[in-house]
Amino acid sequence: MSSPTESVDPTEDAAGDDAAAGDDGREIPGWTPYREWFRDRWSEGGATAWATALGHLLVGGVLFALVAGFDLGTLPIGGSLVWFVYLSVTVAALYVATAPPAEPYVAWLEDRWMESDVDKLLIVLGHVVVVFFVFAVALGLPFNGLMGALSSVLFFTAVYAMMVLALNLHWGYAGVFNIGIAGFMAVGVYAMAILSSPTEAGAASVPGLGLPLPIGILGGVLAAAIVGLVAALPALRLRADYFAIVTVAFSEIIRLTLNSRTLQEFTIAGVTTGTGGATGITMPGNPVRLLFYDGFGAGAEPALLGSVLFPLFRGLRIELIPPGSSWLGVVPLPAFTLDLAVQPSVISNWAYVVVLSAFVALFYVLLVRTGNSPFGRVLKAIREDEVVAKSLGKDTNRFKIVAFMFGCGLMGLGGILWQGSQGFTNPGAFRPIITFYIWVALIIGGAGSNTGSVLGGALFAGALWEGPVYVRRVVTNYVDFGSTPSTFPGAVAPFVEGEVLPFLAFLLDNVSALRFILVGVILVALMQRRPEGLLGHRKEEAAAISLTRPGGGGGGGSTTADGDAVADGGREADGDGGAR
């Protein structure tokens, strides 16, 4: 490995040489002093080592591009296979070579991880952003595509975070095993849609009551809470697992009722409305759209923020090296433009993500406050031992009912912000499987912890939900699998004969099913090895005063999670993006 082909990629050679260093101390003129110098700077660690590594990476990249006859205009986002290979190889080499300089990073990570819950959240969100940045580079997505992908991941992160927070109130605080989440979501969404849809139905859907949207949303939340009350009344007398079955039966009753043709359109007291049956129901327009357009229709003109931001971002291209320029008038330089253009739809998606983040923060604050209130302490006491709570004179049934209704109302609100924001929904969106996704997210994060809930939502949405799909896109982008077999036997037959590619192609084609298997396996593994979730034993004490040492983190942490999250994510993206 220690061949003196030092020109192309010094970092790689450094890595290789590192491995071979122990063999002999041969002096190679030019190379050995250089290596010594590199090692010295390397062992200093910290910023010096990183700067050296980055410098080498940059020089290597430019040399590589020149040798490969590359148009640098495709940098930095706008990749191709060669770039991807270069990046992966150098990053891998860097990783192997930088064991000492990586230590501060790992230590820093561990440090921050132990520090506080908010830091954990920031770390996870930051890494999700970085990973999707890498995906975007690997896919050769333009900046617009990266932003689109990120907004979609963050959308799911936010909605799952909200739902998991609401579920945490049920399971983490009150110890009520609710597996009917989808049903309560459906009630909220449908009540909102029926209340707020225009009285004049278009061709697509049933007419509504035409009330203003805030009333519709409030009505949806109230409806979900009331259905929660109806579900909780019989359920209180039941054992936890019986209660679970009752809630899931409730959610199926709701879904099947919404699905029925009978209620598709009906008239009560002269007012015609309905659920739309299996074909679904049109949602009232998303008010966030009004920030950017003068109406909800497809032909709406940009207005307000839209008229300012759309033109600004549409043409956001920074010409770093104009075409035809050269270095000192001798060496011609390739043209290089930083393309930061973003489409209007992506901008409005981001705006909605910001709104959702605000709601996540609201949910978070609300639940932390609830958890620390006298009411929350009684809930925790019930969770720990209902008999004790009862003997202290607490009407545990009332507390449980109120907590259940509160959680169901939040689930209704979460459902409205999630399914209700998409313009259209149908009962198929509220199958029991949705409930289990939310449970998986809760268990990943750790029941009983509000930060864990948000964390679980982020990990579920990023790593388990969107991640596999992007992995498939990246792999199929670079590997030509030929024809994909459509059936399992068709994929296995060549596999037995030693051809792996068709089988892989088949698996990738079925990545949406594979991720269910992944979710299942992770769920089992978590329950076996870490039933308390990522954040460890996070059951908050029922005591009014903190039982931790003074100065120790203790409870919930601050509430500025979301603003910071974006900032930190950006910073990390920059750092790592530069390193590549």
Partner: protein, 365 residues
Amino acid sequence: MGISETYTRGRDLVTSRPSVLIVAGIVALLALDLVRQIATPGGLSTTQLVGYLWDGLVVGLSIGLAGVGLSMTYSILNFANFGHGDYVTSGAFAGWAVTWVIAGAGQFDLTTLLFIGSVSTRDLGVSAFATPLAIVVGLLVAAAATIVLSLVIDRLVYRPMRDEGGISLLIASIGVALALRYTIYIVFGQRTRGLTDAQSVPDIAIAGGFGVGGHEVALVVIAAALMLSVHFLLQTTKLGKAMRAMADNEDLARVTGIPTERVVRFTWIIGGGLAGAGGFLIALERGAMNFQFGWVLLLLIFAAVILGGIGSIYGAMFGGITIGIAQSISLVWLPSEFSTVAAFAVMIFVLLFKPDGLFSGVTTA
């Protein structure tokens, strides 16, 4: 004296549990309405009603059959196994693959048969009457394959968590369910496939224009036989006694010298075997299946088991039949889209008044 006693008891009932009266009233009203509908000329005919009851019995027995296994694992291992529906599906797929291979060997491509691929069911002509051997072997394989599957999963998933609480195991079983279901999806594909040749199944005519399908009879007979054997196994064998002891109090059972791990293994063997056989028979009766029919059925199975009271074999059978009949008899009043709603509603109603199920207190008997 007798009158006043009855009066006092009646008054107690009214004051302490008025809801019981309300439900009794509703049930009486429905019964009266049923009689009225039958009496009205042009209304519901007796044949129709008997047809509903028979359909309910068939569906109920299939639910009950799958439910017995669930009830056993529930009472002995103390957790609601959400993977049970996918055990049912797995058994059905394993059994039907073998049935197809036996029925169609030499006639069709073996691989296509093994993966229950696209073969014309008419040409293949599988039915309990045309190809009884294939069906019997398929049934046995379905049971055997599910037993192996449930033992392997127990070894990998549940045994390391034996001391955990019921909820942890429940959540793990949701993971098992997801993994199993989508493994079946990947291997067999997502389409709903026809299995039997409906032409070759005779309808057995019974008086008054009412006939029952041959496969329905097969399901009822086999299901009843299997349930009876489970009953005798639990009541008369030492193993059954050990199981009942463990369902009552596991620690006490262990102290008494009952090899609890072995009992657990036999529980999985019986429960898994019944699930697989049940899945195979349900698919036989329906003549079609897809990768998630067990999961869809699972909620009804749970409803049946809970309705009957967990741990009670009779409860599971009775609960299944109640759910099945509630589902079909609701057609008298409600559109067919609400039949499952009716079944769940009946379960919730019963739990309102008997929170531990109809056969509460009777565990594994």
